[in-house]
């Protein structure tokens, strides 16, 4: 039966390879977004690590950067700075905005920092300077390259024009990038004199977690989090937001894969009705015919899964070269998920052809 299943499936080669290709693409859909997010996870929190801060102080209840609006006063920052174990405190202003280049708009975290302060600004500069003045901006290398922006070029941030004076590295990910401007320029765009976050360095020998707890104990208007916790929260927010998208992609992948497989098996069985009828007349039992369908489902899906996994792996090596700021990582969980999905697809897709087989009346063969 294995041999018959295999030969029958291969008999119309184009259809078979279209089927396998379709399944592969569907499964690829399930794998890729996930792989992209996992691959980019480290990039998502790159600024938090690069900033050099041991503790992030934010408005009470704010526990990350992404999609957050935080406002604390300079006084709150100074109070935190006076806590035992705090070496320095630097203010930043933060919002999510659009950087307009000549070519396109790029979604970006906009960070206003004070070049005279120890923290908040970019730590890894690959061209130009970190010491920006008023009317100047620092953007990420990956954005500069993809948008064709060079040092000295002008870009628009939050509606104002800035000159690019420095390029950072590693601050672009699939969701956005990070752009720095002078804190006074940022403040001018915004009423009031509050700041968004205070970035604190801790003196050697002090535990950031304990210091952060002490800050919160002294001022209940702020939330102070050690870098690790702040980064974890940031990752979690992005994950939570993309969970639904991943879910939808998975569902779409599952449905497409199911439709393609079911259709391939169905048409293959339909085309062979007469021959399966002959087989039945000659004494094949239904289980013999079911095994043909099962083998065909198994073959299509194993090949489809293999192609999908291979493609993700291939994209993982090629994508970062083509689209800067992206990375793909094939996880064990992803592979398991795809194989489980393939199995589910196989079972459901085989139902209709199996039913077709069971219903076949072998007497029909003689009436053609």
């Amino acid at each position: 039966m294995f041999h018959l299943a295999w030969r029958n499936l291969l008999q119309s080669r184009t259809q078979f390879f279209l089927g396998v290709g379709g399944v592969a693409l569907a499964l690829l859909l399930m794998l890729s977004l996930d792989a992209l997010l996992v691959g980019s996870e480290q990039d998502l929190v790159a600024y938090i690590y690069q900033s050099g801060a041991d503790i992030f102080v934010a408005q009470e209840g704010v526990r990350n950067l992404h999609m957050a609006a935080s406002a604390i006063s300079m006084q709150d920052m100074r109070r935190a700075a006076r806590t035992e174990g705090v070496a320095s405190a630097s203010p930043i202003l933060y919002t999510t905005g659009v950087v307009e280049t000549e070519q396109a708009d790029v979604l970006s975290y906009i960070i206003g920092f004070d070049p005279r302060e120890p923290l908040g600004g970019p730590q890894v500069i690959v061209a130009g300077t970190a010491q920006l003045g008023r009317g100047e901006a620092i953007i990420d290398n990956a954005v500069a390259r993809s948008q064709g922006v060079e040092l000295g070029d002008e870009i628009e941030i939050l509606g104002e024009t800035f000159t690019v004076v420095g390029l950072t590295e590693g601050l672009t990910n699939i969701i956005n990038s990070v752009t720095f401007i002078h804190i006074d320029d940022f403040r001018a765009l915004r009423r009031g004199d509050s700041i968004s976050y205070a970035l604190l360095a801790v003196e050697p020998g002090y535990d950031p977690a304990e210091v952060a707890a002490a800050i919160e104990a002294r001022n209940e208007d702020v939330t102070a989090l050690p870098r690790e916790v702040f980064a974890r929260e940031e990752r979690q927010i992005v994950k939570d937001m993309s969970v639904e998208v991943i879910y939808i992609m998975n569902m779409a992948g599952l449905l497409i894969g199911l439709a393609v497989t079911a259709l391939t098996l169905y048409t293959s069985t339909l085309r062979k009705r007469q021959e399966y009828g002959v087989l039945k007349a000659m004494g094949a039992k239904n289980r013999h015919l079911y095994s043909v369908v099962v083998v065909q489902a198994f073959l299509s899906l194993t090949m489809g899964s293999a192609v999908a996994i291979g493609l993700v792996w291939l994209m993982g090596s090629i994508l970062p070269l083509v689209v800067p700021g992206t990375a793909m990582a094939l996880t064990q969980a992803g592979v398991v998920r795809v194989l489980t999905a393939a199995l589910g697809i196989g079972v459901v897709a085989a139902l209709v052809p199996a039913w077709q087989m069971a219903r076949l009346d072998p007497a029909q063969v003689f009436r053609s």
Partner: protein, 290 residues
């Protein structure tokens, strides 16, 4: 004279010895009910001996295929019984019928019905595998049989690469490979030219006589008649005593003299035709057909 009679007696004794392989008792098959009821087969009885070749003839719609389906365990009679050896097909559970078909009956179809994706060898081997044998063993057995049937040089050919006669030989091998008691053939020569048709029939005869297998053929091909041991005429679902038949000189079909749609007296002989068309063709150039 005495010698000959002694031979007669021994033949009679042998026949008495043999149980029929297949016994059909008062089988009727109806389709539909009420106003639309069709009686496709009506009160048919028949016993077939081992090694016997029975030819069932009859016009289109007379119930030949319906009868064959019932004999093959593919259709249940409305009334009556069909026995193959000790198995009563009419009483067997639906799930046991495939096993009977697999081991006791071989089918040969009008359009060969080979598995188009499989080689000649695998076509035959697959049917052996259904009995539970491994692919290797099945292929060995299939190869041997195909070689016996003169198909050794075509083992790995796909059906599409075989001629009609070769396809029919593969189909016969497939019907034969599980050593059935009975071979059922529906119009086995319909898709063959007359030479191949004759070869096929001679092969079936050899198979019947050498292996003591019964062969039941359903056909309206007049040319088969001479190799059959017995010819039965089915009409409106039941066997008629052999009516006086004539052969249409144009198309070769057999025609019931009483019902022939056209006839012509030519050169002092009465000729019967299956249709006025054949008669006209004959009259246009009689010499060609005599």
């Amino acid at each position: 004279m005495e010698k000959l009679c002694a031979l007669c007696v021994s033949v009679v004794k042998m026949e008495e010895w043999m149980e029929p392989v297949m016994v059909v008792e008062h089988v009727t098959r109806r389709f539909g009910s009420g106003e639309t009821e069709v009686v496709a087969v009506r009160d048919v009885s028949l016993a077939v001996e081992p090694g016997e070749i029975v030819l069932i003839m009859g016009p289109s719609g007379s119930g030949k295929t319906t009868l064959l389906l019932m004999l093959g365990g593919l259709l249940r009679p409305s009334e009556g019984r069909i026995r193959i050896g000790e198995d009563d097909l009419t009483e067997l559970d639906e799930r046991r019928l495939p096993e009977v078909r697999l081991r006791r009956i071989g089918f040969i179809f009008q359009d060969f019905n080979l598995f188009s994706s499989l080689s000649a060898l695998d076509n035959v081997a697959l049917v052996v595998q259904l009995t539970g044998l491994s692919r290797r063993a099945a292929r060995r057995r299939a190869r041997q049989l195909l070689e016996e049937l003169g198909m050794g040089h075509r083992l790995n050919f796909l059906p599409e690469k075989l001629s009609g006669g070769e396809k029919q030989r593969v189909a016969i091998a497939r019907a034969l490979v599980n050593e059935p008691d009975i071979i059922l053939a529906d119009e086995p020569t319909a898709n063959l030219d007359s030479r191949r048709g004759h070869e096929t029939m001679r092969l079936l005869r050899r198979i019947a006589k050498e292996g003591m297998r019964s062969v039941i053929i359903v056909s309206h091909d007049e040319r088969i008649k001479d190799i059959a041991d017995r010819v039965l005429w089915l009409e409106d679902g039941s066997f008629k005593n052999e009516v006086e038949m004539a052969t249409d000189p144009v198309c070769g079909m057999s025609v019931d003299r009483e019902r022939a749609p056209a006839q012509v007296v030519y050169d002092g002989r009465t000729l019967y035709f299956c249709a006025p068309g054949c008669r006209d063709e004959f009259l246009a150039n009689p010499k060609q057909f005599l």
